[in-house]
């Protein structure tokens, strides 16, 4: 069956998964943070600036996924005119390389959103803890998306010769 699919389709699936899994993670994460922030802001609109940071934090996973997808496109010479033709095995390699950021981005995006949402509730009561705890905790969750991104980058850069 894989012969029928072909290398390029697998590589495209990889790029698509990276962008769409990590992007979905960010979207869901921001949803959690933003709805909590909206609640807090009805009470205390002056905290907009402070909460803004916590709301946009889960947005980065989507960027990492998009960046990885873009790297795959570059690798395939998508913008250079002649698109490379991949063997099935190369296609699988690209697809698997994209999974670390895709899956880590999805899961960490959602959970970072939850952490940010809790952080926003804390910030509502204790704004002085916003950076010391809320932001740092949220960034701790993001670390694993970043590690996923690094793995994806290195696999794409060094693991695959096209």
């Amino acid at each position: 069956m894989t012969e029928m699919i072909g290398g390029n389709a697998l590589a495209y699936a990889g790029a698509a998964l990276a962008a769409f899994l990590a992007g979905s993670g960010s979207a869901i994460g921001i949803r959690y943070a933003a709805s909590t922030a909206s609640g807090v802001l009805t009470e205390d609109p002056e905290k907009f600036g402070l909460l803004f940071v916590l709301v946009v934090l889960p947005g980065t996973q989507g960027l990492y996924g998009f960046f990885s997808a873009f790297l795959v496109m570059l690798k395939l010479n998508l913008f250079g005119g002649e698109v490379l033709s991949l063997t099935t095995s190369q296609g699988w390699q690209v697809l698997f390389s994209c999974l670390p950021i895709g899956i880590a981005g999805l899961v960490s995006g959602i959970h970072q959103g939850k952490v940010c949402s809790a952080g926003i509730q804390m910030t509502a009561k204790r704004p002085e803890m916003a950076f010391k705890a809320a932001v740092v905790y949220a960034v701790m969750v993001e670390t694993y998306a970043l590690l996923g991104l690094v793995v994806t980058l290195f696999l794409l850069f060094f693991g695959i010769k096209l």
Binding site: F67, V139, L149, L153
Partner: protein
């Protein structure tokens, strides 16, 4: 480097001079009250404490009113997103403040704001009511029956209401004929309707699955009819209120009118209300010029109240008033000079009570100053700790730059930070920090050839290529090593700082038996790793291993020096060794610099590629490309600046600070004017 030295002082004065003293201290802003309630004197003589917290009800009321007026007027202010993000303050001189206080007829302004607000609320609630009436009446607008008739007849009841549409499927047929068999084709429908010549049902409208009808029947048959209508799912929508001029729901001069006429009336009144609301808004906007003055007054009165409340900070007898507080050593002369102006004040330097911790003030200069913000966000050092600000500042700047790794973005960021610095009085240190970060990003970008992503390959500026050390997209492994190298260096530096602190505190045991062996162990392991990788001569391996084992042994035996039981000590030592693996985790954490740095450049490159593609679209291509470049790069810059800031922050807070820093101090905040809205010059 280091903290400002702070001295505790005690002030005693005659009670009559109390107010003058507090007023002067507030102006001077050099003394922070210590908590006299917790002092030994107050514990021995509790009756010296002021019986209740001093305050002034009239002042408090006035402040509350002012705040309400300010909130009300602020709602007229038009500001953009930036205006919401940063609060700007009114800048004025002391003379100008006095003028404002003398000039503004506060009562009349407040009265005006209050009456405006009240009238606006009235209009709004009236308008809300009218809107809901409009909604109720709208489906009935084609009913050709004056609403007054609904209650006119003594022997007949008129009911308005809805029936579910599924009960009366064929649209258009007048239901009034339900009682004449000829118009009903549906057999089942007919069989269920009791034929009553005295019953009249008329369809008016169909909206959203509901049929709006009116029914008429003799008052004597009410119960029977009610039962019947209920069975058919009839829900009453009383419209009688619209006919009764005394009812609160009555629209203006309603009564006789048909629904359409009443609706017209309502529409007209809403328009009138909106007109008045607009006039009020204009009036409110006219009051807006008073807003800065109200803000000045607000700050003035809050500070007056604060002065008043400060009386609770001291101890009183019938004749005397005693306060204690903290003053910077450098300010003692100023304090002395100020106190000379009072007849009865005497003061002296005192020692803190046992266990009392003086407040702390950071003292950094020049480029280091803005980084104090990062320290404060974490927590001030306690009075015997080192100020970490100058220790992490260079790392912070470098890491921030590495997270962006783009000279173009660095220039933009520095430019925006500079603009904000010029335009806005608040948030100075943050903008200065961003300015430094932008500068660092320019350096890092130039070294890695990042100018708006791959701009260097697209623009004919070859001399910029001379600065390039390596290019992350071609050689990410170098970037990787740099990040690890910096991480290892900072972690090790943290341990060195702890060692220095221990030596300074004369805790040589901890320094020699914990920090030194850890430094040796980490370095020898690094040497071993490097030689295993073939990066340095292999001959060093046995030495490195020997050193590693020795220092590990020292850690195992001496990490815990409190217990006498050797087994417990070794167990705790083993645990300390095990926890040492966290150093590995710490260093790996710095790999985020690679990821963030490459993402910024990579996304910028993606934008350039897409803009290039868009450019090829005929006619409008240029505009689309332009749009992608401007909006895209700004968005990318904003998001990555945020990322750079928070991740750099984390590296300090999570990887660096725990090596030596507690941050359990409280900041030195001298008693002085505090202002929410104004800056006094």
């Amino acid at each position: 480097m280091g903290l400002t030295r702070i001295q505790k002082v005690s002030l005693l004065c005659h009670r009559e001079e109390r107010e003058g003293l507090l007023k002067g201290l507030q102006e001077l802003r050099i003394l922070q009250f210590s908590k006299i309630k917790e002092s030994p004197i107050a514990k021995i003589y509790p009756d010296l404490l002021p019986p209740r917290a001093a305050t002034d009800d009239r002042l408090e009321k006035r402040i509350t009113e002012l705040e309400a007026a300010i909130t009300f007027l602020t709602s007229y202010e038009e500001k953009g997103l930036i205006g919401d993000l940063v609060v700007s303050k009114v800048l004025l001189s002391r003379e100008a403040e006095k003028e404002v206080i003398a000039e503004v007829d506060l009562e009349s302004v407040m009265e005006k704001a209050r009456s405006l607000e009240k009238r606006q609320r009235e209009l709004k609630s009236r308008r809300d009511l009218l809107h809901s009436q409009q909604e109720t009446l709208f489906p009935w607008k084609e009913m050709d029956l004056p609403l007054k008739n609904l209650t006119l007849l003594k022997k007949v009841i008129f009911w308005t209401g809805t029936l579910p549409e599924r009960q009366i499927p064929n649209k258009g047929s007048p239901i009034s004929n339900l009682n004449s068999e000829t118009n009903l084709n549906d057999q089942s429908f007919k069989s269920q309707i009791p034929i009553k010549p005295t019953f009249h049902l008329q369809e008016v409208n169909r909206v959203g699955g509901k049929v709006f009808v009116w029914a008429a029947f003799p008052r004597s048959e009410r119960e029977e009819m009610e039962e019947f209508l209920k069975e058919w799912g009839f829900e009453r929508v009383p419209l009688e209120g619209f006919a009764d001029p005394d009812s609160p729901f009555a629209p203006p001069s309603s009564g006789q009118g048909r629904p359409q006429e009443v609706l017209d009336q309502i529409g007209w009144e809403i328009e009138e209300l909106q007109k008045e609301e607009r006039t009020l808004e204009e009036e409110g906007k006219k009051l807006l010029i008073l807003l800065p003055k109200l803000k000045v007054l607000y700050d003035y009165y809050t500070n007056l109240l604060k002065q008043w409340k400060a009386q609770s900070e001291g101890l009183v007898t019938q004749r005397t008033f005693l306060i204690e507080g903290w003053v910077r050593k450098g300010d003692l002369k100023r304090l002395d000079k100020f106190l000379e102006g009072f007849e009865s004040v005497s003061w002296m330097e005192v020692d803190p009570y046992p266990g009392e911790r003086p407040p702390v003030e950071l003292r950094n200069r020049g480029l280091f100053k803005p980084f104090e913000l990062v320290t404060e966000l974490y927590g001030m050092p306690h009075h015997r700790e080192l100020d970490p600000t100058p220790l992490f500042a260079p790392f912070f700047a470098i890491f921030f730059g590495l997270c962006l790794t783009d000279a173009g973005y660095g220039i933009l960021l520095a430019f925006f930070a500079y603009l904000l610095l010029k335009k806005i009085q608040g948030g100075r240190r943050l903008f200065q920090l961003l300015l430094i970060g932008g500068g660092s990003a320019v350096v890092m970008g130039a070294l890695t050839g990042g100018w708006f992503g791959d701009g260097l390959d697209r623009l004919p500026i070859p001399f910029l290529k001379r600065f390039i050390l390596f290019r992350p997209m071609e050689d990410p492994i170098t970037f990787f090593y740099i990040a690890f190298g910096l991480g290892y260096f900072q972690v090790l530096f943290g341990i060195f700082v702890k060692l220095y602190e221990n030596i300074r505190e004369r805790d040589y045991g901890e320094g020699l038996l914990v920090q030194v062996p850890w430094i040796l162990l980490l370095n020898s392991l690094l040497l071993w790793l490097l030689s295993a990788l073939g990066l340095i001569p292999e001959g060093i391996t046995p030495w490195a291993l020997f050193l590693a084992l020795t220092s590990a042994l020292i850690i195992l035996l001496f990490s815990d020096r409190t217990s006498r039981n050797p087994l417990v000590r070794i167990a705790l030592g083993a645990f300390a060794l095990y926890r040492g693996t966290s150093y590995l985790g710490d260093v790996i954490s710095y790999v985020r610099l690679v990821a963030l740095g490459m993402v910024t450049g990579g996304l910028a490159m993606a934008l350039n590629v897409f803009a290039g593609l868009a450019f090829q679209i005929p006619f409008i291509g240029f505009f689309i490309a332009f749009f992608i470049l401007i909006v895209g790069h700004l968005f990318n810059l904003a998001l990555n600046t945020l990322g750079a800031f928070v991740h750099t922050l984390r590296l300090q807070y999570v990887e660096f600070f725990p090596k030596f820093y507690q941050g359990s101090g409280r900041p030195f905040k001298p008693f002085g004017r505090e202002s929410k809205y104004t800056y006094l010059q």
